[in-house]
Symmetry: C2
Subunit: 142 residues, 2 copies
Amino acid sequence: MKNPEDLLRERGIRPTELRKEVLRILFGAGRPLSWKDTFTRFTEKRVNKVSLYRTLSLLEEKGLVHKILGTDGAWHYCAHLVEGKKCPGNHPHFLCLACGRMFCLEDQPLPTVQVPEGCVVEGKQLLAYGRCPSCSGTQPQG
Amino acid sequence: MKNPEDLLRERGIRPTELRKEVLRILFGAGRPLSWKDTFTRFTEKRVNKVSLYRTLSLLEEKGLVHKILGTDGAWHYCAHLVEGKKCPGNHPHFLCLACGRMFCLEDQPLPTVQVPEGCVVEGKQLLAYGRCPSCSGTQPQG
DNA sequence: GAGTGAATGCAACACGGTTGCGGTGAAATT
DNA sequence: AATTTCACCGCAACCGTGTTGCATTCACTC
């Protein structure tokens, strides 16, 4: 896997400490993180809230991460790797309403959506929500 | 079509003027309206913002309308009729990023989503977004 | 090392939505 | 009809997510 610095340089983004650390956090999580999730993982280093918002937006604009809107109204940013490549984001997601964690459902494609004549589709997202194994009380192993 | 008062009584909801008017607005629109959309349609009568939020939430809880989250983070409430029955909401939606209007795509079902073992799905939503015919500059008739 | 512009930090704001509480008014009871 | 009751509504204040404007700092270039 490429290190955060190289990933940033490839895209013409100046590889600052903040950006590298955010990438490390997102790749390390392996699932989409909200701004809040990311913020709380800066325990020691205390990051500025605006800088974090700007960094997440930048990474998304430059195509290094993808974002998904949760039913809680918060964007979740995802940078995990799939078969060595950055997760492309074109798949459904599952949001746990109890703990707020979001998961990528990478094995499934997004369906084709038929839109009315003249509509131009720029993107789409499919979100399932409910309870994750940890929160449903019906975990496979008891 | 039943009038708003009967619809409310059937569900054990006290049929106040505000609730009847909100239902009239939502049924009249024929597409999902945000709080803001609904608010601005009270031009003459000026409604309290909190009461409108509470009314929309109540109608949704009681199953008279369904709600969809837009990429702008705002909920859209829908109460239109399909073949004489209340629109059930289990279909994709299209959101115009330019004008903010949302449309139901009733002819299509929501796909089945395979979730990890132990996950409990309570709901799902499929949102396509982009530009509606009025905003895309590619309308069928010029 | 000086200059330059991007990146960051700070304060304040915008917007969608909620909470607490007090007043009002319609329905039920006497 | 008067009283009681309680849902409903309105007001003010607040919360969370995210943005904007501007000053400062930092890193890269020359």
